[in-house]
Subunit: 414 residues, 2 copies
């Protein structure tokens, strides 16, 4: 007998019929002899409706504590309805809101972080043969106010619950049947991965593969929660997130990720003296603009250099505008930028011990005449920024270059 936490998103509970389907799935796992806890999001569209009420009422200037009171009702409706659907199919069920099973969070309303989860009530219900339904996305701070975890927080709720219950599996149901070597809409030969390490998934999540929220992957890694990404539409084994050691096929490169949501900015002719970088990035931080890649070459003999970085496309114009004045003040010659770029990354825990990955990557891009604008690396990934129009070509080229369409054993090693 296993203890399984299942998580279903808003689309999966978007209509009463779909709620019945989720109920049937939970019951199937229950009848197979497992203890089942289900975490659900709000019915699709509901959170947007509630947010619109708050925005329309206040014109955008509102207490986030009260925002959380309103918005958390979406999940509350879902859990009540799902518990009713499960019981109407003959299995006893009970729903809990975040505060009832003590999802204790900090007090950062609308994007709270989970501090602790009490699992006693849930364990007692499971022992009595119930399916337990828990509201995702919400918790309670230490003063007893309702909090929400921010968009996508339901994934995090599910993983936190699985960690607290020491669940055998945390099954995240999505509209895809697992994690792929890259997006199958771009590379039809993309293969589903049976397993992927937390580290690789984390890079993929933060690089724009929208299967799982980054926070939930971090939490899963921290508590070693066996997360499975499964399809809510069809049966399948999905993709298991696991520790690096448990990934059986030790391949060098696991996947190709990409992201076209960023823009590039270059500050030209920056004098080589202390405090300059702090001024540039402090200005952006004050405006709440996140910076992703940052590249600064060693100063040339001229005594000045260029600093290049990427920001979200939506913040591009504002970033250019607010940098003009401080950048002029420090004597930089110009600020230029390009919103039409994309980032393509090669990811794999195996590349730690293999030096040939960069060479193969750059060679493949060069063969297709794709110009590399920026390069950034971490232990398990190499990212390049290129012109956006070449993005799909680059993804296909790299997928083929690293033979990701083949079984790991059949690939050529450097």
């Amino acid at each position: 007998m296993s203890l399984i936490v299942q998580k279903y998103g808003g689309t999966s509970v978007g209509t009463l019929d779909r709620i019945r389907n989720v109920a049937a799935r939970a019951i199937k796992a229950h009848r197979a002899g497992n203890q089942v806890v289900v975490t659900v999001s709000a019915m699709s569209g509901e959170t947007n409706r509630l947010v619109a009420l708050v925005e329309d009422l206040s014109g955008g200037n509102y207490s986030k504590r009260e925002y959380d009171v309103v918005v958390s009702t979406g999940e509350q409706v879902s859990i009540g309805l799902l518990a009713i659907a499960i019981e109407s199919l003959g299995v006893p069920a009970r729903s809990y809101q975040g505060w009832q099973v003590r999802f204790v969070t900090d007090s950062v309303h609308s994007k709270a972080r989970i501090l602790d989860v009490e699992s006693e009530k849930i364990r007692a219900d499971l022992a009595e043969g119930r399916i337990v339904v828990v509201a995702g996305f919400q918790g309670m701070d230490q003063e007893g106010s309702v909090t929400t975890l921010g968009r996508g927080g339901s994934d995090t709720s599910a993983v936190a619950l699985a960690a607290a219950l020491e669940a055998d599996f945390c099954d995240i149901y999505t509209d895809v049947d697992g994690v792929y070597t890259t997006d199958p809409r771009i590379v039809p030969k993309a293969r589903k991965l049976d397993r992927i390490s937390y580290e690789e998934m984390l890079e993929m999540a933060s690089l724009g593969a929208k299967v799982l929220q980054t926070r939930s992957v971090e939490l899963a890694m921290k508590y070693n929660v066996p997360v499975r990404v499964l399809s809510s539409l069809e049966e399948g084994t999905g993709t298991l997130l696991t520790k690096e050691d448990d990934v059986m096929e030790q391949v060098v490169v696991s996947a190709i990720a990409f992201n076209r949501d960023e823009a590039q900015i270059t500050v030209q002719g920056v004098p080589d003296k202390p405090g300059v970088a702090a001024l540039i990035f402090g200005t952006l931080a004050d405006a709440n603009i996140n910076v992703d890649m940052i590249i600064q070459n060693i100063s040339a003999s001229s005594g000045d250099t260029d600093v290049t970085f990427t920001v979200p496309k939506g913040d591009y114009k504002q970033a250019l505008a607010i940098l003009k004045e401080p950048v002029g003040r420090i004597g930089a010659t110009n600020v230029t930028g390009n919103p039409d770029i994309a980032k393509v990354s090669v990811i794999g825990v195996g590349m730690r011990s293999h030096s040939g990955v960069a060479r193969r990557m750059f060679k493949a891009l060069s063969a297709d005449n794709i110009n590399i604008r920026m390069i950034s690396t971490s232990e398990i990934k190499i990212s390049v920024v290129i012109d956006e129009k070449y993005m799909e070509l680059a993804v296909r080229t790299l997928h083929q270059a690293f033979e990701l369409d083949k079984d790991a054993g059949d690939r050529v090693r450097d």
Copy 2:
């Protein structure tokens, strides 16, 4: 400085504009130097929408615990939005759900009764200058499950809160500007009462004057809560519910109430022996049919009698059908009935010490040729059942006969 609990129904918070109006009203009382707690219902239509989700999903067969989880979200949305609206007008506010301020109830889901209310959190917020917004209609049982109080429970929430806080006033905002001597749509000369005793209000509420829920009046009487019925549409002093001793104008008759929601049933030729009434009313009770008036005359020399009573019109046909068999078994000759009746009542705490009320009532009805089918009395009311078609005439006649359109001092006394 007074402590005031205000209650607004679903219509008063039915749109964002109306929520802003409620916020403005609460702030007006706050700026006048009062401590203000506001209780609100769900936005109009919202509770029905949520109930429909539950009904459609389950076909009517559902856990009432989960029903409460879903349906209580309506008030939760209202309190969050109202708190935001108040803050956007410049006054700090904080919202609380039933469980947060410990509206402890029994576990009778969907119609729970309030056992206790903790007022500490609310007092602390008031002391800090906040307007406190509390969800009506909901609470938490002793196991920590969400409960709801049933339709109209928000009035009861407001009164319970006022009792716990020892509020100076519990202001119930409605779509009328107070309690009238009778329905002004029937008698244009009907006068608004400045004060009415709890006992009289209780008779009026249970007799079909739909201004306040009976339960809330009972609770107000028990804890001596000064309830004011006020209009949410216009300024005014409304009607104050108070102890009998505090009603300054000691009039004999205060108001005329009426009710056309009942039907009359007569069991004819009932043998005069023990157990017969128990059989009749036991049969109705088993079918969850409420009986209101019951009349049985002293047996005539024949040894049998007629038993007449009233039931809700919606239960009339079922009541007739289920009585046929047991009534035949005990030897009664027939069951007949009439759904086209109405009940008209004269109410007044002063009639305890005045014998002339019944005489004046019957004389007035007789002068208009209105036949009385049944009579029932309590300490402070006399009710008659008449043909429904004469109801409006009877109400007008009685309103005039007791000179309710005049100031109390100008009336003729018996």
